[in-house]
């Protein structure tokens, strides 16, 4: 497999198969990270900001990756899927034949090189990069849909605009995946703080795409969803002012 192919692989939306991480591994790692950061922190605010910083870096990376993925045309995705299947098939054929007879191996090798020529650079196949979202509602929709699907495999439970406050938006997750094993009822502040990593992801994502804001997590349990978390996004005044200047006439 040529190097470029490997690099491209992660850029393709659901390249070969949808990649999944074990929930147990993820949550164990997450709880270890929280424990470590918690021990290092002097106060709960300090802890929140540390966790926020970790998430921030992730948010920046997610912004790049998902915008790139959104730019890949649908035709390429389907082709890549076929290629992924045939690649894995031909791979098995080669390993089987290499021990028995040589001629079929060479024919397989030639078809393999065809694949490589056809598909050596993903960048060439993208006609136009996706423009970054400029409107508040667009970029929040992107987080609500694409980012959440990428991170958790489903869209977030809800996206709400605060009544009477232009700068406030809420993203709601009924069953937060990373913090689902942490009890909210026992210590509300601790539970909310544990969600600050995701706050960091949202903040990093928004800030790097030109929407400076503050994000905080709030525990608002309901009977069916005892772990329900609300991410409160407060955009800075300049963002709202810019939006009004740019779009209010349209």
């Amino acid at each position: 497999m040529p190097a470029s192919r490997i690099y491209d692989h992660s850029l393709l939306p659901h390249g070969k198969t949808q990649q999944e991480v074990s929930l147990s591994v993820m949550t164990l790692l997450y709880q270890e990270m929280i424990q470590r950061l918690y021990k290092q922190s002097d106060s709960i605010e300090h802890f929140q900001s540390k966790l926020n910083d970790v998430g921030y870096r992730l948010g920046v990376n997610v912004l790049e990756l998902l915008n790139y993925r959104a730019s890949v045309p649908v035709s390429i995705i389907s082709k890549a899927k076929d290629l992924g299947n045939t690649m894995s098939n031909s791979n098995t054929v080669i390993t089987n034949n290499s021990t028995s007879n040589a001629p079929t191996t060479s024919s397989n090798a030639s078809t393999l090189s065809n694949f490589i020529d056809e598909f050596n650079s993903l960048g060439k196949d993208i006609p136009r990069m996706k423009r970054r979202d400029l409107q508040i509602i667009d970029i929040l929709q992107f987080i609500h849909g694409t980012v959440w699907s990428y991170l958790f495999g489903h869209v977030s439970s809800d996206l709400v605009k605060a009544q009477g406050n232009e700068t406030e938006y809420r993203i709601i997750d009924n069953e937060p995946q990373w913090t689902q094993f942490i009890s909210g009822a026992r210590n509300q502040l601790h539970y909310e703080s544990c969600n600050y990593m995701l706050c960091g992801v949202i903040q990093g994502f928004l800030k790097e795409s030109g929407f400076p804001c503050d994000v905080s997590a709030h525990w608002q349990p309901s009977d069916e969803q005892p772990q329900r978390i609300v991410f409160l996004i407060q955009f800075h005044q300049q963002v709202v002012a810019r939006e009004q200047l740019r779009y209010s006439r349209a």
Partner: protein, 228 residues
């Protein structure tokens, strides 16, 4: 099989979790006062219970009969899987009443394969005149204890005792007796599954310390509720 209580004992013999499932009885003549005839064990008694069970574990391996030591007989330590112990059965429960996915619980059951019993030489079951206690031990030495209100069927017809009475009469119940133990192992292994989710993945839980998680409480409760 009614479960009276669930206990968890850590690897050094300390009681880290205790929950009783006998609902407080309401006195019909005076409903404002809940009956206290079933006075609960105080914490000291429970700690003694936990440490006694723990120390008996060490002893019981020492008293293995010589015949077993000599023959090294192949005892099968695999416990068969019994479907839907402690979870809703999809065949009998309406779709909308099925529990949602949570944590490691993805399908209709926590696990679906027979499993290995780590508890080879330690105490596994204790039967008395009033209750039966089942113990499931994990590889790391953690012990899950269930106290069940079911008792052994008592031997009847003692007047008919003759030389072969004992050998023939009570054989029939043998499989059922083992069944209870297997179901208890299945249940306690599920409690272990819940423990590994809601206790081990809680960043504010310190190892070997008492478990105080309401999420864990809820899940254990739901396991016991579905058992009845």
């Amino acid at each position: 099989m009614g479960i009276e209580a669930i206990l968890i004992i850590n690897k050094s013999g300390g009681l880290i979790y205790h929950r009783s499932f006998t609902s407080p009885q309401v006195d019909p003549s005076n409903p404002t006062i809940t009956s206290t005839t079933k006075h609960t064990l105080n914490s000291n008694d429970l700690l003694i219970l936990a440490s006694t069970l723990h120390s008996v574990f060490a002893i019981s391996s020492q008293i293995t009969p010589k015949a077993l030591q000599l023959s090294q007989s192949n005892i099968n330590y695999t416990i068969p899987y019994h479907p839907y112990v402690g979870v809703a059965n999809p065949q009998t429960t309406p779709k909308n009443n099925m529990p949602t996915k949570y944590g490691s619980f993805k399908g209709d059951d926590y696990f679906k394969e027979p499993f290995h019993n780590w508890n080879k030489s330690g105490l596994k079951q204790l039967s008395t005149d009033q209750f039966t206690m089942y113990i499931y031990q994990t590889m790391t030495g953690l012990k899950f204890v269930a106290i069940s209100s079911s008792v052994l069927p008592s031997g009847t017809g003692s007047g008919e005792n003759n030389n072969n009475a004992g050998a023939n009469t009570v054989n029939i119940n043998g499989s059922q007796y083992n069944m209870g133990s297997q179901i208890a192992d299945n249940l306690l292994r599920k409690v272990y599954c819940v423990y590994s989710d809601y206790v081990m993945k809680d960043p504010f839980y310190s190892l070997e310390m008492p478990i105080k998680s309401d999420l864990f409480d809820d899940r254990v409760k739901s396991l016991i509720d579905h058992l009845l």
